[in-house]
Symmetry: C2
Subunit: 550 residues, 2 copies
C-alpha cells in the first residue's frame, strides 16, 4: 500500500491524498487554496493533478472528508481531467459539491455517492472504506478508514473533540477506540493547531458569548463569520431569538449556504427569526442581527461594502456592533484591519477575537485533542498532515511524547511515496507534484513564466519602443515612438527624448555595420534602452522593442 500526498502537507490548503493498493487508487479530498500577493492575477491554486490524471483508469473513487474549500474546491477541475469517477461524501458535503459541479456544468455526468458515518464498509476494488463521525467547523465531517489487504489507514480529516456540539453527533470516540483495538497501520492526522497547548473549547461556548453580546448591544448587531460555518449561523439564530431579534443573511455565499443547510435539514430556524435584508428595517435596530460575509476583509464582500457605504441595502451606522466571529487567515491582516478601521470611523463598535477571545473558536483540535486521537487510534505508523511544516513537527513531538518511536513518524512532503506494510513503512520514491494556477476564466493554466512576467511588469512597468527602418539599408525612417505603461518616469520628457536618441544611435550604428536582421536589431535596441534607463533611473521596466521594416 502506498500513500502519496499531492497537497496538504507543509502548507495550508489544497489538501489531496492518494492511497494506492496494487494498481488501484483512491483520492482523499481535493481542495484549493487562494493565491499569495505575489501570485499576480491568479484566482485559485490547485494541486498538480498529473500523477492522478496519468493513471485515471486506476482511480476507484474520490472520497471527501468534509465540505470546506480546501478539501473539495478542486473536485470539478480533477473530474474534468480524470473523466467519470464516483465521488463519495456525506450529505452536506455533497450538497456543496453539487453546487460547484453545476457551476462547472459537470453535474449531469457526475456520480455523487452519499455516505454516512457508521455505515457498513463499502467496497472500492481492493479497498473497503468506512466513515467515522468527527466534529469540526462545518456539519457532517468524517474520518476515513481504508482497509486494504496490506493494512488499515485512517485519515482524520479536519477535527476537534467537541463533546457538546451545537448540532449533529459528537466525534465517534468509541468507534476510534474500536479501530485502535482492531489495529491501525497508519494514521494521517490533522496538525493545524498542534502548537497550541490544551484542548480546544466547544463550539457551544461561542453561542453563549453571542447571547451576552446581543443582550448588551444597544443597537443593531452585525455578525461576520465564514460562510460555511453552519453551526455558527445556528448559534446566531438562537442567540438572536433569545434576545428578541430577527436575522437577515447578507452576501451571496452566506445566503446560498444558509439555504443549502436549511434545505438539507442542517439548520433550524426559530419561528419568524429569519427575514430578508429588505424587510429588516421594519424592525428597530436593537431587534436586528445581520449575518454577513466579509470576515477576511474581502474587497467585494457585503461587510466591506457596508463599511464603505457602497452596499445597496445596508449601511453601517453609529451604534452598530460588528462582531468578527472568525480568525484572520494569514495574509488577510491588512484587509481585515482596514475594514475594522472603516467600521469604527462610521461609529460602529467592533468586537474581534483579540478584544474578546470567546467570540470565536477554532474547528481544529489543539495539542490535547491530537493526543487523544493518537491514544484512541494507537497507530503502528503515523504521518502528521495538514498545516505547515512547523505544525507537523509539533505534532510529531506530541506523538513521540506518547512513546511512539520517532522513526515511525513520517513528515511527508507533497509527492513523497510512503510505502506501508504491516510492519514497515518507508518513503520509497517521489512523484510529480506541485501547484496549478487558475485564473478567472477557470480553465487556462497560468505558468511560472507568465507569473514572472507579471511580477516584472508590476515592478517598474513597461516601455515600448517602435522604430521603422529601411529593409535594405537598415537606416531609420522617421523618429522612434516611445509608449509607456506603469513606468514611473513617464512624465520626464527629457528622458523620453533621450530614449529616442538612444534608439536612433543604436539603429544607426547597426546600419553602419550592415545589420538589417530584425531580431538582431530589436535585441540591440532593447539593450541600448535598458542600459540607458537603468543608468538614469535605476529602474528595469520590461522593454519591448518593435522594429518594423519597410
Amino acid at each position: 500500500m502506498r500513500v502519496i500526498p499531492l497537497g496538504g502537507v507543509g502548507e495550508i490548503g489544497k489538501n489531496m491524498y492518494v492511497v494506492e493498493c496494487g494498481d488501484r487508487m483512491v483520492v482523499i479530498d481535493c481542495g484549493v487554496t487562494f493565491p499569495t500577493p505575489d501570485q499576480l492575477g491568479v484566482d485559485l491554486v490547485l494541486p498538480d493533478f498529473s500523477y492522478v490524471r496519468d493513471r485515471a483508469d486506476r482511480l476507484e473513487a474520490v472520497i471527501l472528508t468534509h465540505g470546506h474549500e480546501d478539501h473539495i474546491g478542486a473536485v470539478p477541475y480533477l473530474l474534468r481531467e480524470t473523466g467519470h469517477v464516483p465521488v463519495l461524501g456525506t450529505r452536506f458535503t455533497l450538497g456543496l459539491v453539487r453546487g460547484k459541479l453545476d457551476e462547472h456544468r459537470l453535474l449531469a455526468g457526475a456520480e455523487l455517492v452519499e455516505v454516512r458515518a457508521g455505515d457498513p464498509a463499502r467496497r472500492l476494488g481492493p479497498f473497503a472504506v468506512e466513515f467515522l463521525q468527527v466534529t469540526h467547523s462545518i456539519p457532517d465531517c468524517v474520518a476515513v478508514v481504508l482497509d486494504t489487504p496490506a493494512g488499515r489507514v485512517v485519515h482524520t480529516g479536519d477535527f476537534k473533540f467537541d463533546h457538546t456540539p451545537v448540532a449533529g453527533p459528537r466525534s465517534d470516540v468509541a468507534g476510534l477506540a474500536r479501530l485502535g483495538e482492531r489495529g491501525v497501520t497508519l494514521l494521517l492526522s490533522d496538525s493545524t493547531n498542534a502548537e497550541v497547548p490544551g484542548m480546544v473549547r466547544s463550539e457551544r461556548t461561542v453561542g453563549e458569548e453571542f447571547r451576552r453580546v446581543f443582550a448588551t448591544a444597544r443597537g443593531r448587531v452585525i455578525v461576520t463569520t465564514f460562510a460555511s460555518h453552519v453551526h455558527r449561523m445556528q448559534q446566531v439564530l438562537h442567540a438572536a431569538y433569545a434576545d428578541g431579534r430577527v436575522v437577515a443573511a447578507i452576501g451571496r455565499s452566506m445566503t446560498r449556504n444558509l439555504n443549502i443547510a436549511r434545505n438539507l435539514g442542517y439548520i433550524e430556524v426559530p419561528d419568524q427569526t429569519l427575514v430578508s435584508p429588505k424587510e429588516i428595517d421594519r424592525h428597530p435596530p436593537d431587534e436586528q442581527v445581520l449575518l454577513s460575509t466579509g470576515s477576511q476583509g474581502e474587497p467585494l464582500s457585503a461587510l466591506r461594502r457596508m463599511a464603505l457605504g457602497t452596499h445597496p441595502l445596508i449601511q453601517v451606522k453609529p451604534g452598530d456592533t460588528v462582531v468578527f466571529s472568525s480568525r484572520t487567515v494569514p495574509g488577510n491582516e491588512l484587509a481585515v484591519n482596514e475594514t475594522i478601521n472603516r467600521l469604527e470611523q462610521v461609529g460602529a463598535k467592533v468586537v474581534t477575537q483579540e478584544s474578546n477571545p470567546a467570540i470565536h473558536v477554532s474547528g481544529h483540535g489543539r495539542a490535547e485533542d491530537l493526543v487523544w486521537m493518537l491514544q484512541l487510534v494507537r497507530p503502528r505508523f503515523f504521518a502528521p498532515i495538514h498545516g505547515e511544516f512547523r505544525h507537523q513537527r509539533a505534532h510529531r513531538e506530541l506523538a513521540t511524547g506518547l512513546g511512539i518511536d520517532r522513526r515511525d513518524v513520517f513528515i511527508l512532503a507533497n509527492g513523497d511515496v510512503l510505502e506501508v506494510g504491516e510492519d514497515q513503512a518507508t518513503v520509497l520514491d517521489r512523484v510529480e507534484s506541485g501547484i496549478t494556477y487558475v485564473d478567472s476564466f477557470g480553465t487556462s493554466d497560468v505558468g511560472e513564466g507568465v507569473l514572472r512576467d507579471r511580477r516584472h511588469l508590476s515592478e517598474d512597468g513597461l516601455v515600448l519602443v517602435i522604430t521603422t527602418v529601411d529593409a535594405r539599408e537598415g537606416t531609420l525612417c522617421g523618429d522612434p515612438d516611445v509608449v509607456t505603461r506603469g513606468f514611473g518616469a513617464a512624465d520626464d520628457q527629457e528622458l523620453i527624448e533621450m530614449i529616442r536618441l538612444e534608439v536612433q544611435r543604436s539603429v544607426e550604428a547597426s546600419a553602419r555595420e550592415r545589420v538589417t536582421e530584425v531580431d538582431l536589431l530589436q535585441r540591440q535596441v532593447h539593450d541600448a534602452v535598458a542600459g540607458l534607463l537603468y543608468k538614469r533611473t535605476r529602474q528595469r521596466p520590461v522593454i519591448l522593442p518593435v522594429v518594423v521594416e519597410v
Copy 2:
C-alpha cells in the same frame, strides 16, 4: 496656534506634524512607511509635503522625537524640497539622520542641532522648544514641548513608562507632572497600544528571558530583532556574556547600527564578547550567538538567506535555536511564516512571541501607560495620534474615562487644521495632504495612474499587436504580429491566430470606410482585440495596438 498632521493619524508610519504660530511653523517628525502589496514597485511611502514646501520660507525647524524610520525616514526628501532648515534631535537620533543625509548627499549643507532632554528652552521664532526624556524601543527618545504665545503643546513622540530601562534615563515623570502644573493647552499622545489593557512590561524582562533561553539552548542561538533596537542588542550581549557565548552581528543594518551605537556610547560591549561573523566558528556552537536582521521575513535579509542556505558565511544547522525577539508588522505574516517553516525544515528550534510571550515587549505604552501620561500632563485639549483610527478611538475612551470632555478630544485626519487657543480648539480647515510614492531611484514620484497601470499589467499581463498599413489606402501590409507578456493564454496558438484575424478584419473594415488616421485605427484595433479576448478568456490584459503607416 494651528496644529496640522500631515501623516501619522489614522495609519501606521510616515508621522509628520506641523505646528504654526502666526506665520511661522515647525515640523515635528518626518517619517516614511513601507508599501502594501498593491502599491506595486513602490519602495517607500512618504507624506505629501506640498503644504510645507509651498511655505518653506516660514519653516523654523524640523524637530525629531526619536530615530525610527517612521519618524525620520523622510527627512532627506523634505530637506530636498524646503532647502536649508535646521534639524533638531538628540544625539542618537542625529547619528541615524547623519547616515541618511550622507546617502542622499545632503549632509554637507545640513544644519543638525543636537538637543538634550532637560536643556533650557530654545527659541525658534515665536516658539520656545524644550525636550523631556521618554522611554521607547530605541535610545534617546524625547517628548517635545512647544511654548507659544497662544499656548503650550506637548507631543509625546512614541513612549512607554519603563521604570527600569536597560540603559539611559527613565521617562521624566517629574518633568511631565511639572508641565501639568504649569498648564498644557494641547497634548498629542501616542495611541498605538491603546486597545491593550494594563501596563507594558519593562524592556529589562526580555533580557531576563534571553538568559533563560541561552542557558538552556544546547547549540548556537540566533536572535533576530529590529536593527534599531539598541537596548535589545545590549541585552543579547549581556545575556551572551553571562552564558559564556560570543556574539556576531549579521546583516548590513544590524552591523551599521551596532557601530553607530557603539561609537556614540549607547551600547556597552562586554570584554571580548563581540566577534566578526568570519571568526565565530572558532568557538563551539553552544558558545555562539548571532544577532541578525530578518525579523520581518524580508527576502534579502541575513536570516532568510541563512534559512535558505544562500548566505555566504552562515548556514542554519540542526540544533540551532532561532529567537524572533520581535513582533510581526501587519502585512509581513506570510513572509515571517515562510521563514519559520524553512528554519524548522533545516532542523532549527524557533522561538517566537507566540510560543514565548516573554521574548519580546512593545516599545509603546498600553492603556495604563497612556492613562498615566494623561494624568501627569492634564491637558486642556487632547488629540490622540499615531496608530490606526481604532487605536485613537480607544485612546479617546481612556481620556473620557478620566473625565476629559469628549468635545475636548480631537481625532484628527491628515490635513485637518486644528486651531487652538487658550480656551478653545476647533478643526477649522483642511489642507492638502496625502502620500507620495518613491521607487528605487529615490527621486521620481510614482503617481496613482502609474500604479493603476501596474495593477492592470499585473492582473492579466499584456498583449501587443503590431500592424503595418498603407498610409493612403489604410489597407494591411502583411500579417499583424502579436507579442504577449504575462498573458495566461499565450501558448494558445489558436487564440493568437484569432487575434490576428480580428485585427485584419478590423483594419479592413476601416479601410473600406476610408479611415486612415492612425489614432483611430489603433483605437479600433484595441477594442476589437479587447472584445475578442474577454469573450474567449474572460481576461482583460493591457492591449497595446501599434499601427505603423508605410
